[in-house]
């Protein structure tokens, strides 16, 4: 047997054992003071809610395989021939009507989300650490102002935002999209809380005594311990920009700069107005293609959410 095969076998064996341990550790619900009936009722509620939430996704998956007439003419939750998925998929990445292509919009979304998300994460990590572990004059007031930003919906500031952007030439500019996407107050708030709870002051004190500069303490000691929090903020801010509709709608009038959200909004208008024969299948499949990267990102970053990073560092 090859080493790799043996490795995978031991891994499978370990997982099996872990599952057994989990099963042994499970406590009968009666011990929590719950009745079987209550548990069944609650589980039913959860399942119903899950169905309710997942139904649109299932609908999108099924209908992405249909022609326009079948989308309207056949049962929504089952397939209908002809199977048009690949045909629609090919069309999706072709310039249809000169509005700008889906591929272009998709790349725009990727660019805005990654640069905005990474920028937001860097700012949140730096700011959160600073607010959590340094005391300076006005720190509370500054933090309060940042948190106040959480409460202002973007629709409220749409008009002033447009006027301000027009003044500084950020209308129809990539930066007009990226810069505001880097400001994620909730990310900073999350990071501050995360640092406060997961990076003991003694650890930073110890590094100071050990002669490390503040920058080195941040990079070498604090940052590695902030990874789970950091990944959460990255995911939140990337997803936030990915799904952003209002901001690009305000600042972009050039089709070539649209992200997928606004571009598909445009398609949706056209489909409704002119009854364009083939836009609805594209809209459905376009929506499906848009959510796939987000699901992949969740799956990819999941392994960073693990506990025990501080194991052995400080005694209680």
């Amino acid at each position: 047997m090859s080493a790799a095969a043996m490795n995978s076998q031991t891994r499978r064996e370990r997982r099996r054992r872990e599952r057994l341990v989990e099963r042994d550790a499970a406590i009968p619900v009666e011990l929590y003071g719950l009745k079987r009936g209550t548990v069944t009722a609650l589980t039913t509620c959860c399942v119903l809610f899950a169905l309710f939430t997942l139904a649109p996704v299932v609908w999108v998956i099924i209908n992405s395989t249909k022609t326009q007439s079948n989308i309207f003419g056949s049962f929504g939750f089952w397939f209908a021939s002809p199977f048009e998925f690949f045909h629609t998929f090919a069309n999706l990445f072709r310039d249809i009507d000169g509005d700008g292509t889906y591929a272009n919009w998709f790349l725009n979304t990727v660019l805005y989300s990654l640069s905005g998300g990474i920028g937001a994460t860097v700012l949140a990590v730096l700011g959160g650490y600073g607010f959590a572990r340094f005391e300076f004059r006005g720190s509370k007031a500054f933090f309060a102002i940042i948190i106040a930003g959480l409460l202002v919906p973007i629709t409220l500031v749409a008009v002033p935002l447009y006027l301000a952007y027009a003044k500084v030439h950020l209308i129809n500019s990539v930066w007009g999209m990226i810069l505001p996407s880097m400001v994620v107050p909730v990310g900073l708030y999350l990071m501050r809380t995360y640092v406060e709870l997961s990076i003991p002051r003694e650890l930073i004190d110890a590094a100071r005594i050990d002669g490390a500069s503040e920058l080195r303490i941040f990079l070498r000691i604090a940052l590695p311990l902030m990874v789970p929090g950091l990944m959460t903020v990255l995911l939140l801010s990337v997803a936030g920009t990915w799904n952003n509709y209002i901001l690009p709608l305000i600042i972009f009038s050039n089709n070539q700069l649209f992200p997928v959200t606004v571009g598909m909004g445009l398609w949706s208008q056209h489909a409704g107005n002119s009854g364009d024969a083939n836009l609805y299948p594209l809209l459905v499949l376009g929506g499906l293609v848009t959510i796939v990267p987000m699901i992949a990102l969740f799956a990819l970053l999941q392994r960073y959410w693990r506990g025990g990073l501080l194991l052995g560092s400080v005694a209680n």
Binding site: P200, E202, L203, D205, A206, A207, R208, I209, D210, G211, A212, S213, R216, R220, I221, P224, L225, G308, L309, L310, L311, G312, S313, V314, A315, N316
Partner: protein, 391 residues
């Protein structure tokens, strides 16, 4: 020369709480000084101010000849062991120990040699590649020590480094810490709330209470000549029995019992006819085996036994006499209501430490022999010790 000196060192927090009030303390080169006191007495604050981790409200801290009030911790050349170890969890043992050397830009070969020698001194050679999470409590404690000694610092600070270890390991690590101290010879300031640790480890011990220095002396001196009531009660286990007593001529009136004072009467002359507080250490109460009066300073004390605690090698006899205890009420006031209730309900007001082979039973009436020269006297108004005669 002194390695650390503090002058009129004070700390008042922004909340208005005063943690330390005008501390004067000096640690000589190579000396092992223990700061001891109950929690909240300001000992950790003091240590953190010496380390530079806490701002100084007033006063000065000197390391060697240099005033370091405004010097950042990284430039002070002090090493510190933290109460909860504060190891870097994502670095290996070797990286934890070597972290300070990298910061100092020590060349790699030299660095590795020093990490290995520190690890060897602490028995960590086999663990260099492990992470803190894979170590036992005692091993983590050693890594924390290793991180400090590898720097060959001029000043060593330790904040209750043994308090998270179990009792047996703590005793073993005490001698290990001292061995390391002897080997590197750096002046050490060691903080603990455990008076046994203080007594067994310190060259000199500074007793702190409510942010004020009570006494700074050798362990022997603290035990033999406590400067005030607080030190008398704090040092020694079980703690000293303290009673209100009246001086009448040649005798000490303790409740209804009269103890002949012997030579001690000269120093109590100014208190004739007044109340003093008399302190008797539990180990200075001897069960009277009927062997006779002994020398002139020997007196006897009759007591009712309430509880006997057998420890195997010795026994603690909890007794009551009809004198008013001065210590318990004081302690109760300090310890808060919960304990006060408990103490008020207790039926004993004294403890004697005796040979466990003596067949003392609960409810029995016994006679203790006391050497009056070993009784400590305190002024009830000032709480200060009545000066003792040189022996």
């Amino acid at each position: 020369m002194s390695a650390i000196s503090m002058e009129k060192l004070s700390k008042v927090y922004s909340s208005g709480v005063s943690a330390l009030a005008g501390l004067d303390l000096e640690v000589r080169d190579g000396e092992f000084v223990v700061l001891v006191g109950p929690s909240g007495c300001g000992k950790t604050t003091t240590l953190r101010m010496v380390a530079g981790l806490e701002s100084i409200t007033s006063g000065t801290v000197r390391l060697g000849d240099l005033v370091v009030n405004d010097v950042s911790p990284r430039q002070r050349d002090v090493a510190m062991v933290f109460q909860n170890y504060a190891l870097y969890p994502h670095l290996t043992v070797a990286e934890n120990i070597g972290f300070a050397l990298i910061n100092k830009k020590v060349p790699k070969p030299d660095r590795e040699r020093r990490v290995r020698s520190a690890a060897a001194a602490l028995g960590l050679m086999d663990l260099l590649g492990r992470k803190p999470g894979q170590l036992s409590g005692g091993q983590r404690q050693r890594v924390a020590m290793g991180r400090a000694i590898v720097r060959e610092p001029s000043v060593f600070l330790m904040d209750e480094p043994l308090s998270n270890l179990d009792a047996k390991l703590r005793v073993r690590m005490r001698s290990e810490v001292l061995r390391v101290h002897k080997a590197i010879g750096a002046a050490t300031l060691y903080v603990t709330h455990d008076q046994v640790e203080a007594m067994t480890m310190g060259d000199r011990v500074a007793v702190l209470h409510d942010g004020e220095l009570q006494q700074y002396a050798t362990p022997r001196e603290l035990y033999d000549r406590p400067a005030n009531l607080f030190v008398a009660e704090f040092i020694g286990s079980p703690e000293m029995n303290l009673y209100e007593a009246t001086v009448t001529g040649d005798e000490l009136l303790l409740g209804s019992q009269r103890l002949s004072l012997g030579p001690a009467r000269t120093l109590l002359a100014p208190y004739r006819g007044r109340t003093v507080i008399a302190g008797i250490r539990p180990e200075h109460l001897e069960l009277d085996g009927g062997a006779g009066a002994g020398h002139a300073g020997m007196a006897t004390l009759v007591a009712d036994v309430r509880v006997v605690e057998e420890l195997g090698d010795e026994a603690h006899v909890f007794f009551s006499i009809d004198a008013t205890a001065a210590g318990a009420s004081m302690l109760a006031a300090a310890a808060g209501e919960a304990e006060a209730g408990l103490l008020a309900g207790a039926t004993h007001n004294g403890i004697a430490r005796t040979n466990s082979r003596s067949a003392v039973r609960r409810g029995q009436r016994v006679t203790f022999r006391v050497d009056t020269e070993r009784i400590h006297f305190f002024d009830p108004d000032t709480s200060m010790a009545v000066p003792r005669m040189p022996r």
